[in-house]
Symmetry: C2
Subunit: 155 residues, 2 copies
Amino acid sequence: MQDPLYFEDLAVGQCFASDTHNVDTDQIKAFAAEFDPQPFHLDEEAAARSFFGGLAASGWHVAALTMRLLVTSTLPIAGGIIGAGGDLSWPRPTRPGDVLRVTAEVLEIRPSRSKPDRGIVTVQVATLNQDGDVLQALTARLLVFRRPDTAGPGA
Amino acid sequence: MQDPLYFEDLAVGQCFASDTHNVDTDQIKAFAAEFDPQPFHLDEEAAARSFFGGLAASGWHVAALTMRLLVTSTLPIAGGIIGAGGDLSWPRPTRPGDVLRVTAEVLEIRPSRSKPDRGIVTVQVATLNQDGDVLQALTARLLVFRRPDTAGPGA
């Protein structure tokens, strides 16, 4: 990743892309056993008879893997990626064998009214598989700080 | 939990409450190491110097623990909890020692226009600690099926 980015380094339309992550059956079952113990995330046969028609990763697993890709290879925000919240959806299930990658585009940049050292940056984050299918769409509101030397009451 | 609930068993204003889950330092660091490797989730000293002022759980860890509580002790939806998406925010950090519990309230019930066997149920999910602080607010859109014997073209 490049040098850490501060609030003033970001611009609407800026795009970022991650490395890839290979999802496999063991990862899907391990996450589900700990956090989302439902048959369609844990057992191939039960999953085949379910709404998903086959083993599918928990949506929260996809969210967590997306965060890993954002942190390790996508968004070098100075001081870290601090999410205030966001909206997310899972248009398609994530399957064993899917190779995930993440793209992020800056949608909006809004300085804080009360705190001159920071702002909220809205980022559209898409999690895609090897076929370009969107597995997760996340609109995230991130807290991003200004460069320390440019912050101040008048900044 | 009670018997599985189908679409027609749900009503706006219905409330559900979970068991509790104790968060500790080891859980916070283990999740972060795998999915959100940032210093404020991994290291007490770095966290003390960060925006969080001390070790804090990844928001995605809180989301995953919330899902665990929903699945195991809150929402006995027939066929499982299948999320289409939602909006989430983290008003406060989750800390080691926090005892999480979840409340869920049915906000909206909408039959599918095209598929008579199902509908979308919007649920407001709050994740609280032992002091009643809201650590995560999630408005979730769930896919819920009707009882098989009542589904049909005219249902």
